[in-house]
Subunit: 258 residues, 2 copies
């Protein structure tokens, strides 16, 4: 319950709230409360009624879906991210469950208040629509990634995306356990392990959570990232020509829950 002013500032900095008036922001965050959860806590189960918009302020949250004893990871969230916005807007049941992968700090905003405020403030409502559009497009990218690429290709593209996000270092750090990554990429842990081995041909060396990408160009030739799936800006020197470079200008925001 002890909410630091800096926490609210971080929430205010989210695209969803960046341009809201102070009044609207107060309306939405009015009945909000901050909670701390230990690692491994289940926040929400598939099918649960959703009463709050969650905002992850610190820690890591995994969203997953399940069927017949199988589970799959739909997204791994890091601060600062909102989640289950769509269920809140529709006042519907959750389609995925959420649980913490680390000790986490989560702000819970009243869904009721959010819907009410949307109807009062068209600018805020528009921001919600934009956020939802971005989430939707993130999922479209995810489906294309899943249906059009094989496991090794998905891993290769994942590594390239991470490299870009981490500032193009030679060695990147995997942001979570490999079994979670495997589930996110739609494969078994064993298969992920073997996929990493296959990539040694392309200069990829794995040491625990550290992955060294020795020959980025070789990896990119295999991965063939595209802005229509991967939504990131690659290193300029890996691009073939100006025409191709232009396709990469102005990447959208990334939506982690995609």
């Amino acid at each position: 319950m002890t909410m630091r002013a800096s926490d609210l500032d971080r929430v205010k900095a989210l695209p969803l709230f960046r341009n809201t008036t102070p009044e609207t922001f107060r309306d939405v965050t009015g009945g909000a409360f901050l909670q701390r959860f230990p690692s491994g806590t289940t926040l929400l189960l598939e099918g649960d009624t959703v009463d709050f918009l969650y905002v992850l302020l610190d820690g890591t949250v995994e969203l997953q879906g399940s069927w017949k004893q199988k589970e799959t990871t739909l997204a791994v969230l890091r601060p600062v991210s909102t989640f289950i916005l769509a269920a809140v807007v529709l006042d519907a049941d959750a389609l995925m469950s959420a649980h913490t992968l680390e000790r986490s700090e989560i702000l819970m905003l009243s869904g009721e208040a959010l819907r009410r405020t949307m109807k009062q403030d068209p600018d805020f409502c528009f921001a919600v629509a934009q956020e939802l559009s971005g989430c939707y497009r993130g999922l479209v990218r995810g489906v294309k990634n899943q249906k059009l690429r094989g496991g090794i290709e998905r891993l290769a593209n994942y590594l390239i995306t991470q490299r870009v996000r981490q500032g193009q270092p030679e060695t990147i750090q995997l942001p979570h356990e490999k079994r979670v990554l495997a589930s996110l990429l739609g494969m078994t842990p064993e298969n992920l392990s073997r996929a990493f081995s296959s990539l040694s041909t392309y200069g990829v060396v794995v040491k625990g959570p550290l992955v060294t990408i020795g020959r980025p160009e070789a990896l990119e030739r295999l991965a063939r990232p595209t802005p229509l799936i991967d939504n990131h800006m690659p290193a300029a020197d890996t691009l073939v020509g100006k025409a191709e470079a232009e396709r990469w200008t102005a990447p959208e925001r990334t939506y982690a829950y995609a």
Copy 2:
């Protein structure tokens, strides 16, 4: 360009417009125009700038994504459906291409006008947010379907969904070519053909576009449909108990582009 009044009525009946004021409806449909396209026409390519919200009034449209000479079907739309709403809201490039599978009638609404109207009418903006939420949730279902189920299971569930939508007849009709269905289900045409054969064990008999489901209970035991993925209401007599039945009450609208 000849737009019948009945066409506008059908658009007005869409969830997106059902509760809008006549003024707002006029604002959005103001500069709209109706176009007729022959079968096989490409309406939009991945990466294209999107200037219009499309409304399919008659015919069939396929949405697909591609990568490295591969293509996959993301949705098959039938009247009355809107598409590429998310790209319009963000004024962004299309992530999927669209083309007609039959001669089609399509209404094109100005994206500019749509965005302007959203900012003026909070109720309409809220309706857009609801629509986007539904689209998002449709995709979440799609990802779960794709990642958690094998090919035969996806086909079995597809057949059950069709049976429900067509009013539980013993014999259903496939709404499009099998190769399109295969792509939608994320498999090759050959594999779909073999999947149909496998289902003969469960009372499924295929004759061209007609599929007879001889033993629905057997098929459901294999398919195990769930409201957290399939979003339809099954026949009451296939449910095991009251508790399970309750999980199926109040299905959401279905979003075909999911």
